[in-house]
Symmetry: C2
DNA sequence: ATGCAAATTGACAGCGCTGTCAATTGTGTC
DNA sequence: GACACAATTGACAGCGCTGTCAATTTGCAT
């Protein structure tokens, strides 16, 4: 039969409650006792039964990672974040569950409620764009479910992880400028997503700093998908004065831009420089390999989850951590000839 | 405070045990009672507490999806399967957890044991290649944990889902043959994976049927990764008699082959036809878009999970389901000129 | 030694549900 | 209408753990 806490207690010569204290790493246990109990646990290969712990202790040891699956079918970006979150949860013996949650539909908050009521996660990791949906945040606070966010729009008052995406975008565009490009287009993402705003802002900032008055035709809104990148590029190529470089707000759209360039017989990078953002695996599999901003997604998932876990374990309040970006200069960009 | 089963019972005017029966969809409840109880549950928005159900009923309502993360960092293929498994679990109010489990290392079975002991999944979904690791299967049977497999090597004695990959591969190669190709190379996957064997066998079958004696130099072993596809292609291109078409055992390797072709200045499909297997999103984002075998991964995850759930819910024994494949003829293959 | 506060430990109830088994009600037969 | 039998319902204990609070031990100043 299964080894129970009581069995460990008997072997260690203490009360069950004391074993429970050791198990939960509580204070007020003498060192000698703690060691004796730990030894007994080890010797008996004791595995606490999480359903019993949950029932008695009124917590679930569960972290739910929520994502929007409207526009994100099986995206690599999310898979990497998930991987990082899982690693962090494992380290603290928390379980993780992944939940898609469509943002469209007015019953969004109701569906969130259902997730909480059905699964009782101790905490939640939010991924873009649901990091910024006010009714959801409101409800989480009302129900007092701690959460951490990956790249939320609001840095203040949130815990989790973020990157200086605006600076990253600006740096990327400055690189294009340094290659001699002047007619630089931007394919932005869905307008109200933070990622779109920052990346667009970084683009504008770099252009302005170079003294280039922004031609509004050079900014086309996409939807973070490959297909939208293709569509945006076709639109840009139809312009009287075609851009010589395109900065897409993510790699999927950048790959769409490259596809459309091929379609039109434009050589990348000779006739058109293209760059993206995220550095998903696809970026290095394209020909030419895509110049892009590397975002350490896996690490970001991990760091966000660790901030949350700090709160859940009563170790602190968690912080908003900042991650570094880097430019991956590959072969899809070149000096303007 | 939370609505408990007892509260529902009081409102419906029955005993708690009867509510429990309705909740668990058990037999031996009269229709009138069942409806009365269901109405009370509905009216009170009753949400059973899963930790209590697990503790009392000695089950977890948890399905664990296991995958090997040696060679599969954040693969889209797995993300799609996961999506399908999740959908199936949701439909039956089961939870799902995703667990990486490195196959390398002799403590593999011990790590599996730890997952079972720590999380007590009611059942497990296995993804390739851990569908075929004998010690793991042995242990699962010993511990009597039901499991379903996605594309296991053994069709008999397993439940889950599979595709006729050999026929699919053969059909793909026959397509190349119909385009006039004769020197057709194959980049295979890791030798002992079922996917590699079937796809290689299908290739050989088609070649033999066309009366072509297989040139062993035309078969190069890869590892299902982009990089291995590049390496294999370089090797093939160095041959005195270069192939005119390459069939790669998956899309990642096919994209590597295309990359290497670009590198060597070979035009696809004019100088070289390339095709893959799986139809991951990448396939249609490449230029030229990749001709490939479509594998309905998401659906397969769902179907495999449904077979498992049938067992878990005591509804039957589950079956090995067969999924259809289809050829996606795109632009990376063309008639031999 | 003595007294007192602080640290450590334990007794006990109960978290919300289901398994077991007994009690009750319904159904068909002659 | 009485009987056997099946279908339905309920009483009760207990799953394995933790919260509460009381009991005991320890450390320290006097």
């Amino acid at each position: 039969m299964r080894v129970r806490l009581e069995d460990v207690a008997r072997r260690a010569g203490v009360s069950p409650k004391t074993v429970s204290r050791v198990l939960n790493d509580e204070a007020n246990v003498s060192d000698t006792t703690r060691q004796r109990v730990a030894a007994a646990m080890e010797a008996m290969d004791y595995r606490p039964l999480s359903s019993a712990r949950s029932l008695a202790g009124n917590r679930s040891f569960l972290v739910a990672m929520l994502y929007d699956n409207n526009d994100n079918p099986a995206s690599t970006y999310l898979a990497e974040i998930q991987d990082g979150v899982l690693e962090a949860c494992d380290a603290h013996r928390y379980n993780m569950m992944v939940r898609p949650l469509r943002m469209r539909g007015d019953d969004f908050v109701r569906r969130l409620d259902a997730v909480i009521s059905d699964h009782h996660p101790d905490g939640i990791v939010l991924t873009p764009p649901i990091t910024d949906y006010a009714p959801l945040l409101k409800r989480l606070r009302e129900r007092q479910v701690p959460f951490a966010s990956v790249s939320p729009m609001a840095r203040v008052g949130n815990i989790g992880v973020a990157m200086d995406e605006q600076l990253a975008a600006r740096t990327m565009v400055e690189h294009l400028l340094s290659l001699g490009h002047r007619r630089i287009a931007h394919v932005s993402g869905i307008a109200d997503h933070g990622a779109s705003r920052w990346r667009l802002a970084g683009y504008r900032e770099a252009m302005a700093a170079a003294g280039l008055t922004a031609d509004p035709k050079l900014v086309v809104e996409g939807a973070f998908t490959f297909a939208s990148g293709v569509a945006a590029a076709r639109q840009l190529f139809a312009l009287k004065k075609r851009p010589t470089a395109v900065f897409a707000a993510n790699d999927d759209m950048a790959s769409g831009v490259m596809w459309a360039a091929h379609e039109r017989g434009l050589k990348v990078p000779q006739d058109l420089s293209v760059c993206g953002f995220d550095d998903i695996p696809l970026a290095s599999q394209l020909w030419p390999a895509l110049t892009t901003v590397r975002q350490p997604s896996r690490e970001m998932g991990k760091v966000a989850a660790l901030q949350l876990l700090e709160v859940l374990r009563g170790r602190g309040n968690g912080q908003m951590m900042q991650m570094p970006f880097s430019l991956e200069l590959r072969n899809s960009t070149s000096r303007l000839s």
